[in-house]
């Protein structure tokens, strides 16, 4: 393999590594709550009025959707929550249990990340448990994905290691022939 091609391969490797680091950074950033919610929804679950803050609207499919839930704790006492992201009709996905933790900024509030895996309509299903019993409310969400690449391009990229393997086998074959001649 010529030195030029080796350097080209090295440069390509470094670029891929940088792209991966950016992707990891984006995935981590997706789980962090911004300063301002992108959308605030006021809903009522049974007798519990809730304020749901969504930090991405529309949500990015394939990434976590940060959210926060607040309620008037003084009126209802301590509340506990259970949150799921549920795929809408026609979305090929399964329900996902959201991760939750206490919101340090709001007394009695919680924050969490809901996984939205596939583009399309979803709902954030919030179950509230409190003194007045349990109640459920659904907050509709839309998830979008980057524009789709054509199938053939997907396959062209996906078969990259096969090209590598074929080139490798052919190169090895060439080397063997040279060795036999020598």
């Amino acid at each position: 393999m010529s030195t030029f091609f080796q350097r080209l391969l090295l440069a390509f490797g470094v670029l891929v590594l940088i792209a991966l680091l950016i992707e990891i950074g984006l995935s981590v950033a997706a789980t962090t709550h911004g300063n301002q919610p992108a959308r605030i929804v006021h809903v009522t679950a049974g007798s519990y009025p809730l304020t749901v803050s969504l930090y991405k609207d529309p949500a990015n499919a394939g990434f976590a959707l940060p959210f926060a839930i607040a309620s008037d704790a003084s009126q209802h006492g301590a509340l506990s929550y259970d949150v799921y992201s549920l795929p809408g009709t026609g979305v090929s996905a399964t329900p996902v249990h959201a991760s939750l933790s206490p919101d340090p900024d709001i007394h009695g509030g919680i924050q969490g990340n809901a996984e939205i895996t596939v583009q399309g309509p979803w709902t954030l299903q919030i179950t509230v448990h409190g003194r007045a019993g349990s109640a459920v409310v659904a907050v509709p969400i839309t998830a979008t994905a980057p524009p789709a690449i054509p199938d053939w391009l997907g396959w062209l990229i996906g078969l990259l290691p096969f090209y590598g393997l074929l080139i490798f086998l052919v190169t090895q074959h060439g080397k063997q022939n040279k060795l036999q001649v020598a």
């Binding site: 499919a61 996902v96 249990h97 997907g154 996906g158 074959h173």
Partner: protein, 393 residues
Amino acid sequence: MAKVLRGVSVFSNTLAQPRSLYSVLLLRLILGFTILAGSAGFLLGTTWDIQWHSLIGRDRTLIPPHIMMLGGIALCGLATLSAILIETAWARRNPALARYGTTFADTFHGSFGAYIAGFAALNAALAFPLDSYWHALYGVDVAIWAPFHIMFIVGMALVSLGCAYMLLSAAHLASREGKKGMLRIAHAGVIIAFATVLGLFTLLVIDAMGKPGTIHAGFIVINVYPVLAALLLGWTLVAAVFVLPGRWIATRVVAVYLLFAVVMQGFVPAATGWLMAIEQLGFRDTSNNPGISLASVNWPLAPILAAVGIDIVIGLARRRGWSAGRTLLGVLPVILLGSMPVIIMEPLQTLTLAGIVGGMGAVVSLLLGMSGAFIGGWFGRRTGEAMQQVERN
């Protein structure tokens, strides 16, 4: 002047600590086995992921099976990077060491296998976010024959191939240094690496037994499982036999490959049930944990016949001095035999498949399988002979 000598003493005119050939051998052996652990972990994680997808669903990007797969890729990537950077530093201090490795881009020095494994691990890592994107577009039920599934599974199979190269170069160094124990360890590693290559490619080939591998081509229906399995078996098993000394090499590779299925059966159902409880999830279609690993019960068993046959035929060919062509013709039927779909859940799957494709389709599928066995066996011998020559100074 710096000079690499046999044995442990290497002297250098620099103040830096001189490194011996033994250090290079030890480094390649330790990091080679680290890469092997990463790729075997990836294989186990992928079978767990297949179980998770089929029974529970792809509920989020960082589910535990994905973490296990990514952990395997990361371990392989870091180990190869360490191998190359450490050997490059050693070769700069002691240029004589460079002749026991391969120079890349006029800058790096290391085992040829480390470069293969490094680039392949990078490719597999890149495939992961691309696969997440593909799922975001098309949903959780994307088939295993999807572009980026193939990209990371083949990528990790190439990591294992690179690992086989790396351990083989360690074996050459061990032989040169007269370290018999390390030679045996390196050879055992090469066998496990070949079994991992076989296991990872098997994950792709399994699907060919069903609908995805059945092609309706107008007047005829054919199945591509025999040709894919024959290509894979011919290439990996014949290469292993030509790489390693001793008898029953192909059989040992397939024994490790079957051991993987046993480990999957022990690990996957238990891990799935345990994590489902933690994540508060339920099964999609069935009410209970089936208690079986879906990959294990679909693991092709016929390769054991091919392995034993290849060992016998090539052993006979060596004793009787057969030509390369005659040896290849000798292994063709046994490779084809090993390429018949036989799984523990359905030992007579070959007949079921023959019933689906019909008489004419079965004949054409077998002829395709024969051509796969020929190409696989031929490339296998070439690969084995080429691997033998790498870094053999």
